[in-house]
Amino acid sequence: MNPTDYVILAAILFTIGTVGVLIRRNAIVVFMCVELMLNAANLAFVAFARQSGTLDGQAIAFFVMVVAACEVVVGLAIIVTVFRSRRSASLDDANLLRN
């Protein structure tokens, strides 16, 4: 139960999320990768809270969950709207805005 291990796990999850956002092309999958990054941050907060013996990190995790839920609502609304207009959720197809 060494908190440092959890911090390392959080860093790995964060990296997986980042790489996922950069290489995946489906908006839903990209969005899930962002959620993974937020949850990695949550895990880091909780692990650091354990390490430092303060409760702040655990309280912050709750706030982050609420914010992430709001982000899901807004994000899915936008992705569904775009999907309905274009019949595609691929970020590569979203290329009308160019020089």
């Binding site: 650091f48 013996g53 409760l55 706030f63 709001c70 807004v74 009308l96 020089n99």
Partner: protein
């Protein structure tokens, strides 16, 4: 060890409601707006929403003025009410009032205001045509706008990383939606919303992980605690530098600094123009306020570690903004890249880490906000049958068609270029002087060269408007209602007055530029 922490009784926090009144008024009005959507009949909604919005912004501004001279922490140290907070909150509220005037305009488009009759109707469908014919408007834009303003008020005031993260999201989430609600060119608008959302969520995840690392180092997320941990303990530089870098990514994304600026041109081009004006001005003020507070108050002690990074980013931002703006053919994209360049100029104030740097940045933010809102207000008035005529070639000879509007636009372009007797010159002078005083001479040389190069593309537009022949089937300049007229008049007045006699505001900024710690 955590059992000890769990055993301590939970003490109810004290909340100084009067000190955070501006934020509470605006967020309360936003909730009222949601209730109006639910309970007021459709024909009355627009009037009710306009009433609530303008009253709330004006009352919140009055509350900010009432608080002047306050310099204290509030809400258990989560929020700092000090000079920079109050000045930036006042700026955000004034800029929001002007942007709200643009949003209320519905004379320039024969179909109604700038927003889709119904954002959920498919673009080009019969349903959409029906809603448009019935004269519906998406009045939900008003509560969304107020939520975003509330976030902008909290963002520069936040004194811990959690409050700052929540404010960042409250500011951003409504803007993602507003970006996708344009009445014309809806596919572009929805695409702008998608890009803004994906990149915005990505960057806020970076901010949050950076906050976690700094919490891991300091054991607290309050800026004062982080600063004292930095000064008392050396070591664990991995956590500190990693946290600093990741937080910087999140905030630099919001201000649109290179290499995190890619969303700016697309979102500025695709969004409804009043919303573009609002976010170009408001987000920049709020995000630079937050950036200044984090890097001055929490991370000021390790400035020798982050200044090289900021130097690089500032230079890159100025160069990318200017070079890309030179190549644009669309007026909104050109203004977007110009805002990237301005973010670079503003970063020189962050790098200065001095009271003058802070004051110069605050003054620059106020002047740039009014100028950019005015510029986008002009863009919304030059139209053809398909909506706004944003291609630069369509602006040829505008000065012959409408000398007044072209003259007004010239004032804004000269201010952005930083020509003397406009507010842009006073702002640039204040911020560059502070950077020189802090020993950043080489950076200022780059910034001045970049401004000189930037003047080229602003003046190119002026030449295009006044010295080329108008096309036969060119766009027309629409006569707006009182809303846009007042907004334009205010923006021109501020741009000229702050250029001719900036001293009163500079004095105000001087007194206000001390962070409470």
């Amino acid at each position: 060890m955590s059992l000890v922490a769990l055993a301590t009784p939970i003490v109810a926090p004290t909340i100084e409601y009067a000190r955070i009144a501006p934020v509470l008024i605006v967020l309360g009005a936003a909730l009222l707006g949601v209730l109006i959507e639910a309970f007021v009949s459709r024909p009355l909604r627009r009037g009710a929403q306009l009433f609530v919005t303008f009253i709330a912004l004006a009352v919140a501004f009055w509350a900010v003025v009432r608080l002047h001279g306050t310099s204290t922490l509030a809400v258990q140290g989560a929020v700092a009410i000090d000079g920079p907070t109050l000045f930036l909150q006042g700026s955000v509220l004034l800029l929001s009032l002007v942007a709200a005037l643009l949003m209320a305009e519905r004379e320039v488009d024969p179909a109604g205001d700038a927003f889709a009759a119904r954002a959920s109707a498919l673009p080009g469908s019969n349903e959409e045509r029906e809603f448009t014919a019935m004269g519906w408007t998406q009045t939900e834009v008003w509560p969304l706008f107020l939520f975003s303003v509330g976030g902008m008020l909290l963002f520069p005031a936040a004194n811990d990383l959690l409050t700052m993260f929540v404010a960042l999201e409250v500011l951003s989430l409504p803007l993602y939606l507003l970006a996708g609600m344009a009445r014309r060119r809806r596919l572009l608008s929805q695409e702008a919303a998608l890009k803004y959302f994906v990149l915005g969520a990505f960057s806020s995840a970076f901010f949050l992980f950076g906050a976690a690392l700094l919490y891991g180092f300091a054991g607290t997320v309050q800026f004062g605690g982080i600063a004292s941990a930095l000064s008392s303990r050396a070591g664990q530089t991995g956590l500190v530098l990693g946290g600093t870098g990741l937080i910087a990514v999140g905030l630099l994304f919001k201000v649109g600094a290179a290499p995190f600026h890619q969303w700016t041109p697309d979102v500025y081009q695709g969004s409804p123009t009043p919303i573009t004006a609002f976010m170009a001005a408001g987000t920049k003020v709020a995000a630079f306020g937050a950036l200044l507070r984090v890097f001055y108050v929490a991370l000021g002690g390790i400035r020798w570690d982050w200044r090289p990074m900021m130097w690089t980013i500032a230079i890159l931002t100025m160069v990318v903004g200017v070079v890309m703006a030179l190549t644009q053919q669309d007026i909104k994209r050109m203004l977007a890249y110009s805002s990237v360049a301005h973010a670079g100029f503003l970063l020189t104030g962050v790098i200065a880490v001095s009271q003058r740097g802070l004051g110069g940045s605050m003054f620059y933010l106020l002047t740039y906000g009014f100028t950019v809102i005015g510029a986008f207000a002009v863009v919304s008035l030059v139209r053809d049958s398909a909506g706004e005529a944003t291609h630069l070639s369509q602006w040829a000879g505008l000065g012959k068609r409408s000398p007044l509007l072209a003259g007004i636009f010239t004032v804004f372009l000269l201010a952005m270029a930083g020509i003397p007797l406009t507010s842009g010159f006073a702002g640039k002078f204040a911020i560059f002087a502070s950077a020189v005083a802090s020993g950043d001479g080489p950076l200022v040389v780059v910034a001045v060269l970049a401004s000189a190069a930037a003047a080229f593309f602003y003046i190119r537009v002026i030449v295009l408007m006044f010295f080329s022949e108008p096309a036969q089937d060119g766009p027309v300049v629409v006569v707006p209602s009182a809303f846009t007229t007042i907004a334009l008049a205010v923006c021109v007045a501020v741009t000229v007055v702050l250029g001719v006699m900036p001293q009163p505001v500079l004095n105000l900024v001087d007194q206000a530029s001390v962070f409470v710690r």
